[in-house]
């Protein structure tokens, strides 16, 4: 069973007037088989947490630890983290002109699996995964995320999730920008990934609608750069009703 441990994590970004602390001591442990939801107002640092785990160079770790099965994640390069079994579905997936989706997926699978997948089974595997997510096969020939609609980008993040099969997946607002049908398709994709292995999911969201499909074991409230409350699935409903006023963030609470 895999475990991701985040201990007293402090993260800063370089701002115009010096370093600005965004994460102020995050403690969180995600075990294989568990799904955690994080909800919190805009700007509270949810994406910062996700990027810090993935190793984005913009974020400076000023304190704390991140361990995957006891291994020091913070000492790994971005690609090493992915190969170690971490995955981040991004809030804003990046366009990479000139690199076809097919080529990208194969390169990623080769890196993560440690060897190039056999061509025949690979083609079938990709086709199958695409059709499960209602992705038109033509996307394979398009440049990575280039000109994709918001919803198409999110579907492709989940496509990568299903092909790369990480130990721990962080999904940063994968539900945002999806229409009702897409939400269902994408949620089913995430659930298939959860069901296939003993994997952990950290789901960052503003809305309970995705939690109707993907039931979390724990819901965390994130405010001011840390987890301020944790509870069961009902906590999400309460947040949707009352907002984040009681956590001192009423003005910027998510709609």
């Amino acid at each position: 069973m895999s475990t991701l441990e985040i201990k007293d994590l402090h993260v800063s970004v370089a701002a115009e007037d010096g370093a600005k602390e965004i994460l102020r001591g995050v403690d969180l442990t995600i075990r294989g088989g568990e799904t955690h939801a994080i909800m919190g107002p805009n700007g509270s640092g949810k994406s910062t947490l996700a990027y810090a785990i993935a190793g984005h160079p913009k974020y400076e770790i000023t304190g704390g630890e991140v361990l995957l099965d006891g291994e020091d994640v913070l000492a790994m390069s971005v690609d090493e983290r992915a190969r170690a079994g971490l995955f981040l579905a991004m809030q804003y997936p990046v366009e990479v002109p000139g690199v076809s989706m097919a080529n990208f997926l194969r390169s990623a699978a080769t890196a993560v699996r440690g060897e190039a997948p056999k061509l025949r089974t690979w083609v079938k595997e990709v086709k199958g995964a695409m059709s499960e997510l209602d992705i038109d096969p033509d996307f394979a020939d398009r440049s990575v995320n280039e000109g994709f609609s918001g919803g198409e980008k999110k579907r492709h993040e989940v496509l990568q999730l299903s092909l790369l099969k990480p130990k721990i997946a962080v999904l940063d607002e994968t539900d945002s920008g999806l229409d009702v049908d897409a939400l269902r398709v994408v949620s089913q994709g995430v659930n298939r990934y959860r069901a296939a292995g003993d994997v952990g999911v950290l789901l960052i969201t503003h809305y309970t609608r995705i939690l109707k499909y993907i039931t979390p074991d724990v819901v965390h409230v994130f405010a001011g750069g840390r987890i301020v409350e944790s509870g069961g699935a009902d906590l999400a409903n309460e947040l949707e009703e009352n907002g984040y006023v009681k956590y001192g963030a009423g003005a910027e609470a998510a709609s």
Binding site: A54, G55, H56, P57, S77, V78, D79, R81, A82, R83, F87, L88, M90, P93, V94, E95, V96, P97, G98, V99, S100, N103, F104, S107, A108, A111, V112, S143, V144, Q160, L164
Partner: protein, 396 residues
Amino acid sequence: MTDVVSGLAPELAGANRGAGLVPVASAGERFTSFDVDAFEVPGGREENWRFTPMKRLRGLHDGSAALDGTAAVEVAGAGEGVTVETVGRDDARLGEGGTPADRIAAAAWSAFREATVVTLDGTPEPVTITVAGPGEGATAASHLQLRTKPHAEATVVLEHRGSGALADNLEVVLADGSRLTLVVTEEWADDAVHVGAQHFSLGRDATLRVTSVALGGDLVRISPTVSYRGPGGDAELVGLGYADAGQHLEQRLLVDHAVPNCTSNVLYKNALQGKEGVPDAHTVWIGDVLIRAAAENTQTFEFNRNLVLTQHARADSVPNLEIETGEIAGAGHASATGRFDDEQLFYLQSRGIPEDVARRLVVRGFFGEILSRITLPELRERLEAAIEAELAVTGA
């Protein structure tokens, strides 16, 4: 060869005043001459020199280069249907392709001792021509003419390699109804300087397919001019350049549509990868397309795309379309410069792809469109490998 100075007056006056002070507004009015002395010595501020690092030209532009070295021209695979001749300056065919339009091309014309003329009369096998630089520290002028017989089809690979500085003219004279596929590579050693003029002249219904690959050299400046002698000509020029730290790669293109019913398609892609402490990796692409009043039903498209992989790199791109007739079938031009940035690198790495593989993936994808036009598998593989090697050398 002829001594006629075409357009002696009034353009000559303009040329001698220095085109930088009084820029020649239209590409169609540019000054041309076979005589080096008809051109003012460029100082570097003139319109057609302003991007070129003059100090690195090894004196090719100002008469200080002796041009006394030898650039060996070797022709391989010249089987049936190929005639290779070494001719003197007085050979009447020389100059049919076009006239030099800058001082270095004219200097090359004035200095070469012997020219190589390759006549193609339907060759099933590709002909490979290798031009070798004169060696480190030496300078040379050279002249090569390729000509096709009417309705002949041929494939030529023209490779440039070695050291030293070379100024040359390449004439490509296509007879009516003929078709030439030409691959030109610039695979120079690090010290090399190559300033070349390419004169493409298409007869009636002739087809030209050129793929240029510029990888090596310190400074490579190529100026292709395409002209049509009769209607129905079809020219496609695609190219790629990979400029690494300190390298200057320049392409200055003019497609001159003066007769009806001709087509031109131009696509150039450059990737740049610089390094701190050396001059910027620099690419320059000038794409002039001129559609003269008589050139009705012209179809033309030109596109330049640049991929900046690192800091310390600069891509200049100036597409320019001049249209003097309303009766055209289609005309378009575009230019775009993109950056391979930290976000893209992060995204690819976050999927497990190591940095060097990520960079390679991007460059390969970018150049794939150009390399796929090269139908000779061995050549394509060699060039792909050369690009990979460039990536490795620059520490990507």
